[in-house]
């Protein structure tokens, strides 16, 4: 049932602290994310992107307004996470350094609680996930997170997604920590995954090039507000909001004049 809304924000505000110390991280959001859509949230640092992502996961609760998931407020978190999963910003800190990576991948199925597949099934699905990110399962057998490179670890996070097969994926700067050379590969995996699972993907990034490359729709965030939303071409080539225009101008592009000398 494509094109039905997966997430719907109704005037959502999230703030931290109180009184004089209040920080409004996300302000009056009114938007919807459709099923099987790839949207990208782009913005400068501390503009509220990660908070936005965590709201989707239910890791943070809106201070004001309502956030609907498939038409209803997020109830039980565990159930929510059976459908919605996240790739975190920094792969180096994502895994417990004291457990073999494989065990951690398998532990991910804990989210299914009672409906957990059999141990054998879990093993199979993890193997599958690993294969999908081009890692041979035996390569990481008994390996600990610190024995892997950043790129490999980022792929482990994605393998986890492949194994869990969530309906919705929130990817917070999924390539921030890897080298340019590896980045394209990772994106390819993700898009492959989306096709395979009919996923909805929310990318969070500050790299407009990446947003342009992968998304169906782009949200430009500034100071907790979405200042512009639209399809990539429209946002990239005919931006309307001054903040968007400024942002695009400030990004050094190989093919565009950037600064006067």
């Amino acid at each position: 049932m494509p094109n039905k809304d997966v997430f719907e924000f109704k005037n959502v505000t999230k703030s931290f602290g109180h009184g004089k110390d209040v920080t409004v991280a996300v302000k009056n959001l009114d938007l919807a994310i459709k099923d099987q859509e790839i949207v990208t949230v782009v913005g400068g640092s501390a503009c509220g992107k990660s908070v936005f992502g965590k709201l989707l996961l239910g890791l943070l609760k809106p201070t004001q307004g309502e956030l609907l998931f498939r038409g209803e407020p997020i109830g039980d978190q565990i159930e929510h996470w059976q459908e919605v999963q996240m790739v975190f910003q920094d792969p180096f800190t994502c895994f417990n350094q004291f457990l073999p990576i494989r065990r951690q991948l398998e532990a991910s199925f804990g989210v299914f609680k009672g409906k957990k597949p059999s141990a054998k099934e879990i093993k199979r699905r993890v193997d599958e996930g690993l294969m999908a990110v081009n890692m041979k399962p035996q390569e990481i057998e008994d390996k600990y997170p610190f024995e892997l490179s950043g790129g490999q670890m980022q792929r482990m996070l994605l393998a986890r997604i492949f194994a869990l097969r969530p309906k919705v994926l929130v990817a917070d700067e999924p390539t921030s920590m890897v080298d340019a050379c590896v980045r394209a590969g990772i994106l390819d995996y993700l898009l492959k995954l989306k096709d395979e699972l009919d996923m909805t993907i929310v990318f969070i990034t500050h790299d407009i090039g990446l947003a342009y490359y992968v998304s169906d729709r782009i949200f430009i965030m500034h100071d907790g507000e979405v200042v512009e939303a639209g399809d990539p071409d429209q946002v990239a080539f005919s931006p309307k909001n001054p903040h968007t225009i400024q942002l695009l101008e400030d990004i050094p592009e190989i093919h565009r004049e950037w600064i006067q000398r």
């Binding site: 400068g44 790299d207 090039g209 342009y212 400030d250 050094p252 190989i254 950037w258 000398r261």
Partner: protein, 324 residues
């Protein structure tokens, strides 16, 4: 005579358990007056280490292995640290460090740090009275909110202000040559642009004229550098003019790097970014043959065994036997 010259420089870290990490291996280049040399490479390839070497700054566990660094013809190696400090640092060469967030002494006001710098170098010639007006003048030339910035502790400044203060301080003594180590990474794109603008401003004002600019963002280098050197696993794999490197890389790694750039450009809309498998070699282990060979798409059998040397391809330097 070259303003700055690095000759076959190799540097290593010594780990706690006696291992050596050869973070910089056989690097050579030279820079002429007024030139901006960009150095690019992925994280961990030895850029910052190279900068330390260029500054003659050997804080354990970093040690020089071999090679030399010449500033206006004078060698840095083998000179007493004190003499280098006295004659070269801040006067002939300055550095803008990576991560300016932490580069300022958190318990010292900006103006005091600036004063310390001047006093360290011109103790005998400068009078205390002139100190602060001079600092204020320089900072106001650079278009900063002088009073606020100078009288603040670093924590009271925004990231951009901090980075500008760092630049202001390191160029205070008109060094002529500046080595900038990722001066803008971790900054907002808008702030980044302002900082680059400021650097150009300094160049225009002739406060310094020659610059080594280090970054992992090729997009940025394209707009800043005259020449670019690409580093991989501690070595320079290709060095040429900006145009050559960005649009016409010859080394397979340069090509991969450029191919991976995603850009917002109508002409490139359908271009699919390339990716590379694998990761750079672990520098702690001895490496046989070409360091890039394991990831190289065009590597041949002998690449895995024979070390590659820099050679000229046209007017550029490439560290690949088979590059055309």
């Amino acid at each position: 005579m070259a303003v700055f010259e690095v000759k076959n420089l190799s540097l290593h870290y010594r780990t706690r358990f006696g291992k050596r990490i050869h973070a910089v291996q056989d690097v050579s280049f030279s820079m002429e007056e007024g030139e901006i040399l960009g150095i690019a490479g992925e994280s961990g390839c030895g850029k910052t280490t190279l900068v330390s070497g260029c500054m003659g700054l050997f804080i354990p566990p970093l040690y020089p292995t071999s090679g030399d660094v010449l500033v206006r013809g004078e060698s840095l190696m083998g000179r007493s640290p004190d003499e280098v400090r006295e004659n070269v640092l801040s006067k002939k060469v300055s550095m803008i460090p990576q991560g300016a967030f932490n580069a300022l002494n958190p318990t010292r006001k900006i103006k005091d740090l600036a004063a310390d710098l001047i006093m360290s170098h011109e103790k005998d010639t400068v009078s205390r009275k002139d100190l602060y007006p001079r600092i204020r003048e320089r900072f106001s030339i650079l278009g900063m909110d002088t009073d606020k910035v100078l009288n603040s502790f670093p924590i009271q400044l925004t990231a951009g202000e901090k980075q500008r203060s760092v630049i202001g301080i390191s160029t205070l003594l008109n060094p002529g040559m500046v080595i900038a180590d990722e001066p803008t990474s971790a900054l907002d794109v808008s702030t980044q642009k302002k900082i680059i603008g400021m650097i150009f401003d300094l160049l225009d004002k002739k406060i310094f004229s020659t610059m080594m600019f280090i970054t992992h963002e090729l997009n940025l280098l394209r707009h800043v550098a005259d020449r670019i050197a690409i580093m991989y696993a501690g070595q320079i794999v290709e060095l040429g003019t900006t145009e050559q490197i960005v649009f016409d890389g010859r080394h397979p790694y340069t090509q991969a790097l450029m191919g991976s750039i995603m850009s917002v450009d109508e002409n490139e809309k359908d271009k699919k970014p390339e990716s590379l498998e694998g990761a750079p070699p672990n520098l702690a282990n001895p490496i046989e043959g070409c360091r890039f060979a394991p990831r190289c798409k065009v590597a041949r059998e002998d690449c895995k065994h024979t070390e590659q040397v820099i050679r000229m391809v046209g007017d550029r330097e490439v560290r690949c036997k088979y590059a055309e």
